[in-house]
Subunit: 202 residues, 2 copies
């Protein structure tokens, strides 16, 4: 049965291991494609337009926003970032799953702009484990870690708006749980065309 694809939004408190998990899901499931963001940031060495990002001017970004071409957008460090709807819709039409590794605010926008997106909240096993992981990275100052930890309560408060909860007690478990969500969501009849004689004759 041919089935339309969908957008899969994955969010988690920072330090939960979302990037590692998302990467593993993309490698394990061939129907998954990583969503490519539009940005006004200048390309860094080695970055490819249309693969890493769609690099656009501020004027072009503003026009996309105005014309509803972005399902979510945000500003970080003076640059704009947004998710183009066209990329996602093309993937869906192909039966693919567009994976969006995105923060709480972006996910909230997508629930409004693309209500049929499937949303997953990945949770660390505990607050203590989350703090431990942030410190184990050894890439951030105490102040940066404290800032991340201060954001956790509001991130956890947003979990109730997601479709599914996946625990990251072990990366393999979280990846398998997400692959299972993908398989089950692919059985959803609302994404199939069951009109007329849909059952094969022989």
């Amino acid at each position: 049965m041919q089935s339309r694809g969908f957008a899969l939004v994955i969010s988690a408190p920072s330090g939960t291991g979302k990037s590692t998990i998302t990467k593993a899901v993309l490698e394990a499931e061939s129907r998954c494609v990583q969503s490519v963001s539009a940005t006004t940031r200048k390309p860094r060495a080695g970055e490819v337009d249309g693969k890493d990002y769609f690099f656009v001017s501020v004027d072009e970004f503003e026009r996309k926003k105005r014309d509803g071409e972005l399902i979510e957008w945000a500003e970080f460090a003076g640059n704009f970032y947004g998710t183009p709807r066209a990329f996602i819709e093309k993937a869906k039409a192909h039966g693919d799953i567009a994976v969006l590794d995105i923060d709480i605010q972006g996910a909230a926008q997508i629930r409004r702009t693309m209500p049929d997106a499937v949303t997953i909240f990945v949770a660390p096993p505990s607050l203590a484990a989350l703090e431990q992981r942030l410190r184990a990275r050894k890439t951030e100052t105490e102040e940066a870690i404290a800032r991340r930890l201060a954001r956790v309560p509001s991130e956890l408060a947003a979990a109730k708006y997601y479709d599914y909860l996946v625990w990251n007690d072990r990366v393999e478990n979280a990846v398998q749980a997400i692959l299972e969500v993908i398989r089950v969501e692919s059985r959803r009849i609302s994404r199939m065309d069951l009109e007329g004689d849909w059952l094969p004759k022989v």
Copy 2:
């Protein structure tokens, strides 16, 4: 994370193998409990009240219907059969999954009376396979088989109102697919209580 249970409705065109599949799902997943129907039919030898059926009088059945205690009901061969809401709600509160092996008409009623029920349509691999299975049973007359086959188009037309499609190409595949739906639906955040400090501290 403690999660409420749900009602799992399984329907299929007759001859698809729904009873075999439902039995295997109930055996494989300990949180699954088979829904017990109320009926005005007299108990047969060996049938236990409250286990095989809740045996009730016609008056009692009519009262249950009137008071909204049945999430679906139907008449077969002069007897009434219905699914008591109380049994299902008790299972849900315990975190259990109440499994309902039910026909298209019953499922349509449940979508109205219990909108959070999860509904699965099991499809045979093809029309030819379905006819072959009906004949292989050798328990029915040609006329009975013809009557069953005549109902198939309207049964297939109802599939679009279900949540998930599961193909019964092989019983084991269908059972695994349904167990996967159960695991993923158990991750659904709308059935959890994620208010307050829901993440374990340690």
